[in-house]
Symmetry: C2
Subunit: 110 residues, 2 copies
């Protein structure tokens, strides 16, 4: 049900692309939200940015291998690929404060 959207296989997930995807605070926050609250409908996300900018962020997250996008009729459900990431790069999601957010990070949004 992933439709024609590109998702890299686990073995093809590139550290370059994952780190680039995680280098943006909004993309990290989306990843953190999926970790904390589970799969999200895209419309549930709310950020003070243009819809096209958010769409771009979601594309970067999906194409890097950080999340899946599942098309369900007119909605899209996004999920963190936690198991795939943990298998490829153990400890990374913790270290970048996605699965173990640091209090200072949440308030600083560096």
């Amino acid at each position: 049900m992933r439709g024609e959207l590109f998702h890299p296989d686990r073995g093809d997930i590139s550290l370059d692309k994952v780190l680039h995807a995680l280098s943006d605070p909004i993309r990290r926050d989306v990843a953190r939200t999926m970790h904390r609250d589970g799969p999200r409908v895209c419309g549930q996300l709310s950020y003070p940015i243009a819809k096209s900018t958010l769409s771009h962020h979601l594309k970067v997250l999906r194409e890097s291998g950080l999340m899946t996008t599942e098309v369900r009729g007119t909605t899209r459900v996004i999920s963190l690929r936690r198991d795939d990431l943990e298998a490829r790069f153990p400890g990374l999601l913790d270290a970048v404060q996605v699965t173990a957010p640091a209090p200072e990070e949440a308030s600083r949004a560096s």
Copy 2:
């Protein structure tokens, strides 16, 4: 002896900039080399890229807070800021295979 080169204070090291710096395989390799072999003279680094490109990579590493550049006469000595990074983002250098390189990463240079 750091001269006028910009180095962020430990508390100002930004996760955004560190992850961006680490998203390039040559920059990760420079960081890994400094971790493995200690401080390096810039001229000791050898990569199949233009000197100006390498200089850019070293600037990104320095300005992100990943390393210091110390000017000693006509040479520049670069050092990994391991303690600063570990204090700010525990486990990150391990997770990105700088201080704990994965065999597959070394050969794939993903």
